[in-house]
């Protein structure tokens, strides 16, 4: 398997808390990999590490063959933060054009990204005046504007209507089919079924790294919620 993201022995401390303690995982190229786990489990920290904005205590994180955060990677990755991080006092179009310009791309790229997230009708509106769901889609547009090879998405579908969520997932699948690597965190277990692989993480520890079908099989349940619960219990028995 061709690996896009490889994490080995990663230790991250925030304040006195050790968020990730000797974390290992690998994300295959051209796949959609779901990062699942309760809030506070270390998902965001892992994503921040992959995009190279997190101070790391030890361990290595390799993205597309370079150390995470290397300057050469900056034009090849896209990052969507959990809270929409775009300029509220600019319109959707102005935001997308600014982020496009950072990759030396023009208006066409910006317009295409806005179209993908279904905001063409609201492109001229100030972000401050958008609904929460629209705002996070505008933020998503800025993350995909450069058609990155590695796309790291922190809870991209929160607060979106079901039809739109379906469209966004179809788009992530299309990007992966075109060779991009998508790492996406989620709370919603039915979204996990649409991933090629799942990373289940709890309290900074990886408790499963497999395809959704294999995870369900190993846990002895067809319901991913139940499967996750079974895995956690099994894990706690092994490592008290």
């Amino acid at each position: 398997m061709d690996t896009a993201i490889e994490v080995t022995g990663l230790v991250v401390r925030r304040g006195k808390r050790t968020v990730l303690d000797g974390f290992d995982c690998a994300v295959p190229r051209g796949s959609v990999t779901g990062l699942l786990g309760p809030s506070g489990s270390g998902k965001t920290t892992l994503m921040r590490t992959v995009v190279g904005v997190q101070v790391v205590a030890s361990g290595t994180v390799t993205v597309l063959g370079s150390p995470a955060g290397a300057p050469a990677l900056r034009s090849r990755i896209g990052y969507l933060t959990q809270a929409p991080s775009i300029y509220a006092d600019l319109t959707v179009r102005e935001n997308a054009r600014y982020f496009a310009s950072l990759y030396r791309l023009g208006r066409d790229a910006a317009d295409a990204a806005i179209e993908t997230v279904g905001l063409t009708g609201a492109a001229g509106q100030l972000v401050a005046n958008l609904s929460g769901g629209q705002r996070s889609r505008a933020s998503l547009a800025c993350a995909i504007v450069s058609r990155p090879e590695v796309l790291v998405l922190d809870e991209p579908t929160v607060g979106q209507d079901p039809v739109l969520r379906d469209e966004l997932w179809a788009h992530f699948r299309r990007m992966a089919a075109d060779g991009a690597t998508v790492l996406v965190s989620s709370h919603v277990m039915d979204e996990a079924n649409r991933c090629d692989r799942l990373l289940l993480i709890r309290e900074g520890v990886l408790i499963a790294d497999d395809t959704p079908a294999a995870v369900k099989k190993a846990a002895g349940s067809d319901d991913l919620d139940q499967a996750f619960l079974n895995l956690i219990r099994a894990h706690e028995k092994v490592a008290p």
Binding site: R48, G52, V55, G69, Y79, T81, D89, Y98, Y103
Partner: protein, 242 residues
């Protein structure tokens, strides 16, 4: 080019906020008018105070605007996101410096033009030099604002830096008490505060029709302070954070 599009982005943000533009352009002019009436019948005092104020207003306004704008970048997550893109630190620092420096130039030109044209302010040197020094002061405000935003977690804290950074410079720049009449240790402090030099430069413009060596030296010192503040500010911009 990333720097150019960053400048354009910052100016577009400003353009979407007409009230702030109005405040930037109108407030210094109103305050100079206030000073004009305060010193009614004392044109020489007005000349001195107004000239000094033309240098101080842009500093205060740009310090405030920049520290809040940069704090927003830090707290809204846009800064973290920018640091995952090919943006360089210098694109951001110079982006803010040039965009807000341009706004300051407009502000200074309006206020100085009004003081000369309408309020009959007398200065031996030209309007252009006054605006030049005012813009240098404004860019100094931008640089210090960028720096101070690193030490504030909230906008509440950020505005508290204004009295801390501005008040000592205002009190010790020679406007209230001539610097040479201050006790030694106060003079010592005054000597290391950049605004002392910009006020002295403006005083030179007020007294001499042609730019003097002292004026250029003072302007050079202000420029040096800008470079130092930007360099320290760059050090506070970390691509990786905890």
């Amino acid at each position: 080019m990333i720097l150019l599009s960053t400048i354009r982005r910052i100016l577009t943000q400003l353009r979407h906020d007409p009230r702030t533009i109005a405040l930037i352009v109108v407030v210094p002019t109103l305050l100079i008018t206030l000073i004009y009436f305060m010193y009614d019948g004392q044109p020489r005092v007005f000349d001195r105070v107004a000239l000094t104020m033309l240098g101080i207003f842009p500093f205060i306004v740009m310090f405030l605007i920049t520290s809040i704008a940069m704090l927003r970048e830090r707290t809204s997550g846009t800064l973290e996101r920018l640091f995952t893109t090919p943006v360089g630190k210098m694109d951001l620092l110079f982006g803010y410096g040039i965009a807000f420096g341009g706004a300051a130039a407009a502000q200074a030109a309006v206020a100085a033009g009004f003081a000369y044209g309408v309020l009959d302010m007398n200065a031996a040197g030209g309007l252009g030099l006054v605006v030049l020094i005012a813009v240098a002061n404004a860019v100094l405000g931008v640089a210090l604002g960028l720096l101070c935003s690193a030490f504030a977690r909230t906008e509440f804290q950020a505005v508290q830096f204004m009295p801390l950074v501005v008040a000592p410079q205002l009190l010790l720049c020679g406007l209230f008490v001539p610097r040479e009449r201050m006790v030694g240790w106060l003079q010592g402090i005054s000597d290391v505060l950049p605004m002392s030099y910009s006020v002295q430069a403006l005083t030179e413009v007020g007294a001499h029709p042609d730019p003097t060596g002292t004026m250029w030296r003072d302007l050079g010192i202000v420029f040096g302070a800008i470079i130092i503040a930007l360099a320290v500010g760059a050090a506070t911009l970390r691509r990786r954070t905890h």
